[in-house]
């Protein structure tokens, strides 16, 4: 194994374990109350959704507006499974998550076929339509409650599950991007014609990107269903897709670390703004605009880079 890779992996795993222990301890000791714990779960779920959307939007470079649709499929399929069967949660839940992911993956594959012929705005319309089709189908499915909503879903999404799966999603995405398949996906974003001329089967890699992204959207949906315990097609509108897209854009197209950070901030922020009551969404939008401006401000960026490089130097000096 590559030495550098092993070092990176050790650092990553150590961060993951320490993060888990610290948060777990805070929950145990009651510092993080039930309300904050709910936010923490939503952070994990949004991280999964954002990172997975970043694969199609950031790395493959296609504007996809149907993420909420794939999430809905994962949510409903997994909920249907856990509600129909009564196995022990430890067996039932991972299977349900996996099934949710696979169902979304299949939907992602179906959508990717017409999507292969289109780019840019047209692809955005196709994915938007796909999301709406899924939502309207669910509205008319009586076994999952239709418009009335689907109730009585078991409360399986614990902090451990959400955290574990978010970590798996991040590591799998990072690993995909660092492989030859990831490079091929990025090459399509950079220049599709040149990628073809370099021997990259662009259709195949577009499908891989779409399907990978849809799978984790479904997984995120499954966690969401078993956290909320109530599903309604109205949750998975275009607004939801846009919300995830905003997280991707703010974190940076093609940056997994950025996605994690922005998903965290944008999940916590609306909760912090509750003090503004009626003006909450107004302030939220303002903060969003300010953050976007700050992100593209060269002076702020330089300041940030300087701080980061001095931190790195200190770190290097320690070694």
């Amino acid at each position: 194994m590559n030495k550098e890779f092993r070092k990176q992996l050790t650092i990553d795993l150590a961060t993951v374990v320490i993060g888990y222990l610290v948060l777990g301890l805070l929950i145990r000791s009651g510092v993080i109350n039930a309300y904050s714990k709910g936010i923490l779960l939503m952070v994990c779920i949004n991280v999964i959704l954002t990172v997975s959307l970043n694969i199609t939007s950031g790395f493959l470079g296609e504007l996809a507006l149907g993420h909420a649709g794939f999430m809905a499929i994962g949510a409903y399929v997994s909920a249907l499974f856990t509600k129909s069967l009564n196995l022990i949660p430890l067996v039932e839940f991972p299977v349900a998550i996996l099934l949710g992911g696979i169902a979304a993956l299949i939907a992602g594959y179906i959508v990717s076929i017409p999507a292969l012929r289109l780019r840019g705005d047209y692809l955005a319309i196709i994915t938007l339509a796909a999301g709406e089709i899924i939502r309207n189908l669910l509205k008319n499915l009586d076994i999952v409650g239709g418009t009335k909503g689907y109730t009585g879903i078991p409360n399986y999404t614990s902090f451990t599950w959400a955290y574990l799966i978010a970590v798996i999603c991040i590591l799998a995405s990072k690993s995909l991007i660092a492989s030859r398949h990831g490079r091929a996906i990025i090459s399509i974003r950079e220049d599709e014609i040149a990628a073809e001329a370099s021997g990259i089967d662009t259709n195949r890699y577009k499908i891989i990107g779409f399907v990978f992204s849809a799978f984790f959207a479904g997984v995120g949906g499954a966690l969401y269903a078993h956290y909320l315990r109530f599903l309604q097609p109205g949750i998975f509108t275009l607004d939801k897709s846009i919300e995830i897209l905003v997280m991707v854009v703010l974190g940076g197209m093609g940056s997994i670390r950025g996605s994690v950070i922005s998903a965290t901030i944008l999940t916590v922020l609306p909760e912090l703004l509750r003090g503004f009551s009626d003006y909450r969404m107004l302030v939220y939008s303002l903060v969003l605009i300010l953050m976007m401006l700050a992100k593209h401000n060269d002076q702020l960026r330089a300041l940030f880079d300087k701080a980061l490089s001095s931190f790195r130097r200190k770190e290097a000096a320690h070694e």
Binding site: M1, N2, F5, A172, S175, L176, S179, R180, H181, G182, R183, A184, I186, S187, E190, D191, I193, A194, A195, E196, A197, S198, G199, I200, D201, T202, I208
Partner: protein
């Protein structure tokens, strides 16, 4: 010895326009072949047909005897025709090394599973790719720029990187579309030397489109001149330079 590339009666229609008509090209192994003609003569269209971007309306294209008609661009790239573009098409936001790694993808076969779970096979192949990428970059002394973003390279270096990337697919035939465009005389001279060096080192044939007559006449062993999509003349540089029709249509008195 049989030809690397055999093009017979090649033609293409764009609606009512006959852009290329009845063109024959034979490229021998290790031959440096020039394709010249006035602007709009259909040279790049020929390249696009050879690489599968356009499907010819009639005629055949064979690479070492294998029919290429109807094949997709990425399949043709894997079969052994590689190209550069008239207006540079690099993966601009990727490093110089990554640009080459993408075309070296044709040389490895580890699967998606192996890639995501980082199995030993993927490590071994990635390492070999990386070594070969640096080796290829040395052809144009670009190895010092390995971690520079492609868009930050000076113009001449970008053209060279495109050639290196094209070599990554291990081609039998290299198509260069105006490789010297925008280069100064010194850079053009270096490029001429480099093309000859490449041909020896990698034992490949080169088919190039170029308007710089010094380069074309200096290195090509055989030249085809086209005008309005049809053959005007074909022969050695001397024959072309003395052909009255070529002088009239393209070279000038």
């Amino acid at each position: 010895m049989s030809n690397v590339l055999e093009v017979r009666d090649l033609g293409i229609n764009f609606g009512g326009l006959r852009a290329v008509d009845g063109l024959n090209i034979d490229v021998a192994p290790r031959q440096l072949y020039g394709l010249i003609g006035p602007n709009g003569a259909g040279k790049t269209t020929v390249f696009n047909m050879l690489t599968g971007v356009y499907e010819p309306s009639d005629g055949t294209i064979r690479l070492n005897g294998e029919l290429l008609n109807g094949k997709k661009p990425h399949e043709i790239a894997r079969m052994g025709i590689s190209r550069t573009f008239q207006n540079i098409r690099l993966f601009r936001n990727l490093s110089v090394k990554e640009n080459v790694l993408i075309s070296l993808d044709t040389q490895v076969d580890y699967g998606l599973f192996s890639g995501i779970f980082k199995l030993p096979k993927s490590f071994k192949q990635e390492k070999a790719m990386e070594e070969e990428a640096l080796e290829l970059l040395k052809v144009f002394e670009l190895d010092g720029y390995a971690d520079t973003l492609a868009c930050n390279l000076p113009y001449g270096k970008q053209r060279e990187l495109e050639i290196v990337r094209a070599l990554g697919t291990h081609p039998k035939l290299l198509l260069l579309d105006e490789p010297a465009a925008g280069m100064n005389p010194q850079e053009t001279q270096n490029l001429m030397d480099a093309i000859q060096r490449l041909r020896e080192k990698f034992a490949i044939s080169v088919l190039l489109i170029e308007h710089d007559m010094k380069l074309v006449m200096g290195i090509c062993e055989k030249i085809t001149v086209i005008n309005y999509g049809t053959l005007l003349a074909c022969g050695t540089p001397q024959e072309i330079q003395n052909d009255p029709q070529v002088i009239k249509a393209y070279l000038g008195e």
